[in-house]
């Protein structure tokens, strides 16, 4: 399969245990290019573990992971960004002491990591192309005024979106978001949704872990439901939420109830 026709993400037979506890069992699903997909399930279902396996934070026990047709299963985590896969964390992981602009410059690393790039004293040039590019990306998302602020001083919703800009600058074409809407107020949630829709319009494929079903409904075409590390349902949210297994996973079986 060529990279152009390959799905953004293809997972097959994926398994992972931690100290004998099976966190992911024989999991297979695909995220077609351009189809915003939600990964949902009760707490502890293994959603974040899937992100950690795809991004390479953990190694897999068994199975295969392909990003845009490239097998990344055994690829070192730091090389995976070059296949276009990027992720966010549940707690935003920006560098708190650095300015917004500097955080974005770290995001550019994958495209500017030759020895010459590393030793260029770019900060001596007020209008260096890297800074211009980062500022332009911020302006485009309506965040331009925060460029020189220290990250730790910014509102939560703004930080979440700066995380997205950083991933964009890293060239992300498959973006995995871990609870993007958690902790946001309604207006921040709307801003985030607009931001994500702009990314989708640019051709970025999103895989979203999210508990807020209204949010999922508003951006996701497809849903994959996990429970105890296994896929129990897959399809459009309206259909999936009718399925017996899904209802049981969320509200318990009839016997328990």
């Amino acid at each position: 399969m060529t990279a152009a026709s390959a799905p953004a993400l293809a997972i097959s037979g994926l398994s992972k245990s931690f100290a004998g506890v099976k966190a992911i069992r024989d999991l297979s699903f695909t995220v077609p290019r351009g189809v915003t997909t939600a990964l949902i399930g009760p707490n502890g279902a293994g959603k974040t573990t899937v992100f950690n396996l795809v991004s390479g934070v953990y190694g897999v026990d068994a199975g295969r992971i392909e990003v845009h047709g490239a097998d990344v299963t055994r690829m070192p985590s730091r090389k995976r960004i070059s296949t276009g896969v990027a992720r966010s964390f549940q707690n935003i992981r920006l560098m708190p002491h650095l300015s917004v602009l500097e955080n974005l410059l770290v995001g550019q690393h994958v495209r500017a990591s030759s020895l010459a790039d590393l030793v260029t004293p770019y900060r001596l040039f007020p209008n260096h192309r890297w800074k211009r590019e980062a500022r332009a990306a911020l302006e485009e998302s309506g965040l331009g005024r925060w460029a020189d602020e220290t990250v730790s001083a910014l509102p939560y919703g703004v930080r979440k979106r700066i995380d997205l800009v950083r991933a964009t600058l890293a060239g992300a074409s498959l973006l995995m978001l871990d609870e993007p809407a958690a902790g946001l107020n309604p207006s921040e949630t709307n801003a985030l949704r607009d931001h994500l829709k702009a990314l989708m319009a640019k051709g970025v494929t999103l895989l979203v872990v999210e508990h807020d079903m209204h949010f999922v409904e508003s951006i996701c075409e497809n849903v994959v439901v996990l429970n105890f590390g296994e896929k129990i349902a897959e399809g459009p949210l309206s259909r999936v939420r009718q399925e017996k297994l899904v209802r049981e996973a969320y509200i318990g079986t009839d016997e328990e109830a």
Partner: protein, 278 residues
């Protein structure tokens, strides 16, 4: 310039160079407690080349620095697998081992010390220290420095963004070792004498203290820290002994209240904002 002042400024220059040797790996979150060992490598290597092969010191000193850097790479690769307190212990032991090796190496005089035939005057030392500071300022303006901060701040995220965390750590450790070797080589040629006992634990620990006091967030921290710890005790020298105790109390209180050090990134932003407002 009086001999006394010259002497103090020379010590300041050496302390500044040593501080930057500690700063580079620390900027990536790696505490090297064996910096004196790398100074010893540079000092003995350069002195040996000057004495035995009649090398001019302008060639011997950079080679001494390079050799210390090379040892930094070779040792850094295994040692940097450890983290935190274990890395501190490993580098601490390393510094001790290197000094002990030179203490027993008869070809460079062993415990009797090793006189050096060539001499670097005070202005050479000042210029060398200024050169190191300028080099560090330049480095701090690069992506490499940004990678150091990223690795220190969040190694997982830096890795996922494509930064070679191990590569950055080893590079910072080896560059720091090379700077230490440079300072050691220069030291040997200024004082015309090397002895292994000089490169002891206290030298490593004091140098780390300069850097922590000055602050590791910006490139100015080590300079400020080294200057503070060199000059203030000199000012106290003429006074009563009890003022030294006061100095010690001040350091303890300061580090408790401001663990991030004297010079921080937010301090710079504050000044810049005030300058813009004015």
């Amino acid at each position: 310039m009086s001999g006394y002042l010259t002497g103090v400024l020379v010590v300041l220059a050496f302390n500044v160079i040593a501080a930057y040797a500690v700063y580079l790996p620390l900027a990536a979150g790696q505490l090297n407690l064996g910096i004196a060992g790398f100074m010893a490598i540079g000092a003995y290597a350069a002195a040996f080349l000057t004495n035995e092969y009649m090398w001019p010191m302008w060639a011997a000193i950079p080679v001494g620095a390079a050799l210390a850097g090379l040892v930094g790479i070779l040792i850094g690769i295994p040692v940097l697998r450890t983290h935190g307190i274990y890395l501190a212990m490993a580098t601490f032991a390393l510094g001790q081992v290197i000094a002990a090796v030179f203490l027993n190496l008869e070809v460079v005089g062993g415990a009797a010390g090793y006189p050096v035939t060539d001499y670097a005057g005070p202005y050479v030392v000042y210029a060398a220290a200024a050169g190191v500071v300028v080099l560090m300022l330049l480095i701090s303006r690069t992506r490499f420095a940004l990678c150091l901060t990223a690795v220190k701040s969040d190694a997982t995220v830096a890795d996922l963004l494509g930064v070679s965390v191990r590569g950055v750590k080893v590079a910072a450790f080896a560059l720091g070792a090379a700077v230490a070797g440079f300072g050691g080589a220069l030291y040997a040629h200024h004082y015309s004498f090397v002895e292994a006992q000089h490169f002891n634990v206290l030298l490593s620990v004091f140098t780390v203290l300069y850097v922590l006091f000055g602050g590791t967030q910006t490139v100015w921290g080590p300079l400020v820290g080294a200057a503070f710890f060199t000059l203030v005790p000199e000012l106290l020298r003429a006074s009563d002994q009890w003022r030294y105790a006061l100095f010690a109390v001040f350091i303890i209180v300061f580090m408790a209240v401001r663990p991030q050090g004297l010079v921080t990134a937010s301090l710079f932003r504050l000044f810049r904002r005030k300058a813009e407002a004015a």
